[in-house]
Amino acid sequence: MKTILKVSQIEKYYGSRSSLTKALDNLSFEVEKGEFLCLMGASGSGKTTLLNCISTIDKVTSGHIFVGGLDITKLKGNELNKFRREELGFIFQDFNLLDTLTAYENIALGLSIQNIPYKEINERIKVVSKQLNIENILKKYPYQMSGGEKQRVASARAIISSPKLILADEPTGALDSKSSKMLLERFNYLNKELEATILMVTHDAFTASYANRVIFIKDGKIFKEIYKGDCTRKEFFNQIIDVVTLLGGDLNDAL
C-alpha cells in the first residue's frame, strides 16, 4: 500500500518560555491510501492542533509532515494554498458553507478556484451529488437545508477535487444521530467504493466506530492505536469504549 500521509516526530508548543504548553509532543504515525483513520481524544488532547498542522492552517514547531511524499512543513504562502486546494478536502464541524451561495455554487467553488472550466465542474457536480444523495437540494441555500444536508454538501465540496486526503474535523458534531449515521455511511461509501483516504477527528465513540483504525491521543502523545480488522462495527465500537474507559477523563462524558 502507498503511504499518503506521514507524520514524523512533530512537536507544537504554545506560549512563551516561562509558561510552555506542549500541544503535540513528538508524535508520529502514517496513513495509507484508502484508509479511514480516526483520531480520538478529549478536548485539549491536541487532536485539533494535529489536524490544523496537517491541513497547513497551523505550523509545527519541529518535525515533518509528508503528504504524498511532499514535505508540507516547508511550503510557504501560495504554495500552501495550492496544496490545500489541490491535495486536501475539508469537512468542518460547522460546515463552513457560504451562506450567500446555493449548494451547487458552494460545491462548484472548490473547483472554480482551481480554474477548472465550467463544463467539467458541472459534470463532476452531477457525479458527486449522486454519490452523496444531494441531487434534489443543489438549488437550495444553506439556511434552507438541515444540518445533515449541509454536511453532505460540505462533503461534496471536499471530495469533488479528488483530493489525496480528506480531513474531517468533528463532522458529526453538529448533527443529530440520524443525520450522523447517514453521513458516516456516506463516508464509508466514499472510502470503500472510491478509495478515498479519510482522516477524521472526533471525540464521539459512535462516529469513530465507522473508521478502520482509531488512534487515541492524550496530552499530545499517541496513547493507543486499535484496528477494526475483521470485526463488526458493533464489536469495534465496544473496543473503542474500552479504551475510552481506560483513558478516563472527560472523554467519558462523550458517552
Partner: protein, 691 residues
C-alpha cells in the same frame, strides 16, 4: 473610573477599523472651521467697501449653508454610530449577561462619544487652522491682493461656532445611543452576528419590466430638463423631473440588484470562474438591503458633480467676461425727456422736479453738481439712445410674434426697444475696441449678446421681419443678431439694441444719454478716490431736484465679480466637498462594517485553499462595485444636469465649462478615490488572518 477605562480601551481597539470614521469627522470639522473663518482672512479685511458688502453677504450665505452642512454631518455621525453599535452588539450582550446595567452601558457609550468628540474636535480644529493658512493664499489670489507678508490667522468666532455645532451633534448621538441601548434585547444582542441573512431573489421578469419602465421615466426626465428646457417656467416644472429622476434612480438600483446576478449567472463560464460567483453573491446579498442607501449616495454624488462644475464655470466665465465686457474705466447714463413717460417714471420713484429737469446730458448734469468731467477724464465720448412706443418688441418680432409668444409667454413684449444711430454705436464700438457696423438707408441691425434673447430675436430676423420707425420702413441687414453691447457689465446681458441709419432718427424721441470715458489716472487708489467723490454727489442737496446720472465703472464691476465669483466658488467647494466626503464615508463605513462579517466568509475561502491574490481581487472588486455603481448613474445624471445648468447659466457665459469639469473630476477622483482605497486597505486589514 472603571467605565472610563473601558471606553478608552474600546476606542483604542476600534481605532484601526474605524480610522475612516475618525478621518471623516476630523475632515468635516476642519472644513466647517475653514469656511466659517473665511472672513477673518487678512486679505478679506483690507478690501474696498463695496467688496466688503459682498463678503458680508458671502458670510451670511455661508453660515446658512453651514446649518445645512451640519445637518448632513449630523446625519452621517448618527448613521455611523448606528453601524458601530450594531457591530458591537455582542460586546454589549456580554456586558449585560455579566450583570452590567443598561444605564452603565449607556454611560460607557457616553464616555466614548465624549472622548471621540473631544479628540476629533481638537484635531479637526488644529487641521482647520492649518488649512486656513493655505486658504489665505487662495483667497489672496482670488481677490488679486498682494499677500506681501504672511500673517497667522485664527478666528475665535469660527472656532466657537464649530465647537457649538459639533457639540450639539455629539449630544444628539449620545441621546440616540442611550435610546438604542434602552431598546435592545439581550437575546438579539447575543445572536446578532449569527443570524445569516436570507437571500431573496427577485422575479427577473418584474425586474426587467421595472428596469425598462424606470429607464423610460429617467429618459423622459432627462428630455424635460434639456430638450424641453424652454417650457420650464414655474418651480413645479422643475420639481417634476427631479422627482421623476429620484424615483427612477431608486427603481433602477432596485431592478439592477435583481438583474445583474441573473444575467451573470446565465453566463455560466464567467460565473463559475475563480471567485466570481462569490463576489457576485456578496454584491447581490447586500444590494438587496442597500438599494435605498445606494440611491441616496448616487444622488449626492450627482449634486456634488453638478454643483462643483457649475460653480467653477461661473467663476471662470465671470473672470473671462470682465476683460471683454468692461473695456473702459467708467460709463454713465442719464434719462432724457422724462416727461414723455411721466407715469412710468413716477412709478419708479422719481419726483416731479427730477422728471421736469431732464433736458441735460450726463456731462451737463455732472457739471450742475460741480463735478467737472474734463478734469478727471482723459478721454470720453457721448452717445444717445432713442425709444418710442411705436417700436416695441411686439413690432420687431412682427409676424412671428404669436408663435414666439406661445413658447415664451413671460417675455416683456410691450417694452420699448432701445434704438441707436449707427454712427453713435460705431463711436462706442471704436472706443470699446469691438466690431463696428455699416448700414444702407433701408436697413437695420440688432445688436445683442444675451443668448436666450438672441435666440428669440433670430426667429424674427430669419424671417426678415421689416420694422416701421418714424415713417421709414427698414429691413434687417443680417438674418441674425450681431455681437456687441453698449452698457458695461459683468455678464452678457445685452438683450437687444436696434441700430438704424442716422437719418431715420427723430430727435424728439431722445431717451437716454451716455457718457463713456477713461480716467486720467491709472492708480487704483486715486480711482477709488474719484469714484468715492462721484458717489458722494448723491448727498448733494441738488440731488433732490436733478437726477444724478447713474453708472458703473470697471472697478466696481471687477470687485463685484471677484466677490461674487469668490462667493460662488466657496459655496460650491464647501457643499461639494462635504457632500463628497459624507457619501464616500457612508460607503466606506458600510463596507467596513460588513468586512468584519465577511471575515468569516473569507476565512472559509482560505480554508478551502483560495489564493491570497484571488481573495484580494474578490475583495477589491466587491468594494469597487459598491463605489462605482452609484457613481456611474450619477455621472449619467450629471451629463444632463450639466447641460441643464449650462442653459440656466447662459447669462454668465459657459465657455469655461471644460476646465471646470476637469477640476471637478480631479476633486472627485482625489476624494472619492481616496476613500475607496482607504476602505479597500482597511477591509484587507480586517479580513487578514493572523496565524
Amino acid at each position: 473610573m472603571m467605565l472610563c477605562k473601558l471606553s478608552i480601551k474600546n476606542i483604542k481597539k476600534s481605532f484601526k477599523d474605524y480610522a475612516i470614521y475618525f478621518f471623516t469627522l476630523i475632515l468635516g470639522i476642519s472644513i466647517f472651521y475653514v469656511f466659517n473663518a473665511l472672513d477673518s482672512q487678512t486679505v478679506m479685511i483690507n478690501v474696498s467697501s463695496s467688496t466688503q458688502d459682498i463678503i458680508e453677504l458671502m458670510m451670511t450665505i455661508l453660515s446658512s449653508v453651514s446649518v445645512f452642512v451640519s445637518f448632513i454631518l449630523g446625519f452621517l455621525i448618527i448613521y455611523a454610530s448606528r453601524f458601530l453599535m450594531k457591530r458591537r452588539s455582542k460586546e454589549f450582550g456580554i456586558y449585560l449577561t455579566l450583570g452590567m446595567s443598561k444605564r452603565k452601558i449607556s454611560l460607557i457609550l457616553f464616555f466614548e462619544t465624549l472622548f471621540i468628540g473631544i479628540l476629533s474636535l481638537g484635531v479637526g480644529l488644529l487641521l482647520g487652522v492649518l488649512i486656513s493658512q493655505v486658504m489665505s493664499l487662495v483667497v489672496a489670489n482670488m481677490f488679486e491682493a498682494n499677500l506681501t507678508k504672511f500673517a497667522f490667522v485664527f478666528s475665535t468666532s469660527a472656532c466657537i461656532k464649530t465647537i457649538i455645532y459639533f457639540s450639539i451633534m455629539y449630544l444628539l448621538v449620545m441621546i440616540f445611543n442611550t435610546y438604542s441601548v434602552s431598546k435592545c434585547k439581550l437575546i438579539d444582542l447575543l445572536n446578532g452576528a449569527k443570524t445569516s441573512e436570507k437571500v431573496k431573489l427577485k422575479n427577473p421578469y418584474l425586474c426587467i419590466f421595472i428596469f425598462i419602465i424606470s429607464s423610460i421615466i429617467l429618459g423622459k426626465a432627462y428630455h424635460m430638463v434639456t430638450a424641453e428646457f424652454l417650457t420650464l417656467q414655474e418651480v413645479i416644472d422643475i420639481i417634476k423631473p427631479i422627482i421623476m429622476g429620484v424615483v427612477a434612480t431608486f427603481l433602477i438600483f432596485w431592478s439592477l440588484s435583481g438583474l445583474i446576478l441573473r444575467i451573470v449567472q446565465s453566463l455560466k463560464k464567467y460565473y463559475y470562474k475563480g471567485l466570481n460567483s462569490f463576489t457576485l453573491r456578496q454584491f447581490s446579498s447586500k444590494i438587496n438591503t442597500t438599494v435605498f442607501g445606494t440611491t441616496i449616495i448616487c444622488l449626492m454624488l450627482f449634486v456634488t458633480i453638478c454643483l462643483l462644475s457649475a460653480c467653477l464655470t461661473i467663476k471662470n466665465s465671470m473672470n473671462a467676461n470682465i476683460k471683454e465686457l468692461a473695456p473702459v474705466d467708467a460709463m454713465f447714463e442719464t434719462n432724457m425727456n422724462m416727461e414723455k413717460y411721466y407715469d412710468k417714471y413716477r412709478a419708479y420713484g422719481y419726483n416731479d422736479s427730477q422728471i421736469k429737469n431732464s433736458h441735460y446730458t450726463a456731462k451737463e448734469m455732472f457739471e450742475l453738481f460741480n463735478f467737472n468731467i474734463t478734469s478727471y477724464f482723459k478721454e470720453y465720448i457721448e452717445v444717445n439712445t432713442y425709444a418710442t412706443e411705436e417700436l416695441t418688441m411686439n413690432n420687431t418680432l412682427g409676424s412671428r410674434l404669436d408663435n414666439i409668444r406661445t413658447n415664451f409667454p413671460f417675455l416683456a413684449y410691450d417694452t420699448m426697444e432701445t434704438i441707436m444711430k449707427i454712427s453713435d454705436y460705431n463711436k462706442v464700438a471704436n472706443f470699446y475696441g469691438i466690431n463696428e457696423y455699416s448700414l444702407n438707408d433701408d436697413e437695420y441691425i440688432i445688436i445683442a449678446d444675451f443668448k436666450s434673447m438672441v435666440n428669440v430675436r433670430n426667429i424674427a430676423l430669419e424671417n426678415a421681419e421689416v420694422i416701421n420707425l418714424f415713417g421709414h420702413t427698414l429691413k434687417p441687414k443680417y438674418n441674425e443678431c450681431q455681437a456687441g453691447f453698449l452698457e458695461m457689465s459683468s455678464n452678457h446681458i445685452n438683450s437687444g439694441i436696434i441700430l438704424v441709419p442716422d437719418n431715420v432718427i427723430d430727435k424728439e424721441y431722445l431717451y437716454q444719454n451716455y457718457l463713456i470715458g477713461n480716467y486720467k489716472t491709472n492708480d487704483k487708489n486715486e480711482i477709488i478716490k474719484i469714484e468715492n467723490n462721484i458717489n458722494e454727489l448723491d448727498k448733494n442737496s441738488k440731488a433732490k431736484e436733478y437726477l444724478l446720472p447713474s453708472g458703473t465703472t470697471k472697478l466696481a464691476i471687477k470687485e463685484a465679480t471677484v466677490g461674487l465669483s469668490a462667493m460662488v466658488t466657496f459655496i460650491g467647494l464647501y457643499l461639494g466637498v462635504i457632500f463628497l466626503i459624507s457619501s464616500a464615508a457612508i460607503l466606506g463605513l458600510k463596507e467596513l462594517s460588513e468586512s468584519s462579517d465577511n471575515k468569516e466568509r473569507f476565512r472559509m475561502l482560505r480554508k478551502i485553499g483560495t489564493d491570497e491574490k484571488m481573495i484580494n481581487k474578490a475583495l477589491f472588486r466587491q468594494i469597487a462595485i459598491f463605489f462605482v455603481l452609484p457613481l456611474i448613474l450619477a455621472l449619467i445624471h450629471s451629463i444632463f444636469g450639466i447641460i441643464f445648468a449650462v442653459k440656466i447659466l447662459e447669462v454668465f457665459g459657459t465657455d469655461e465649462l471644460l476646465p471646470s469639469i476637469i477640476t471637478t473630476a480631479v476633486i472627485l477622483v482625489f476624494i472619492y478615490g481616496g476613500y475607496f482605497l482607504i476602505t479597500y486597505y482597511s477591509s484587507k486589514n480586517i479580513i487578514k488572518e493572523r496565524y
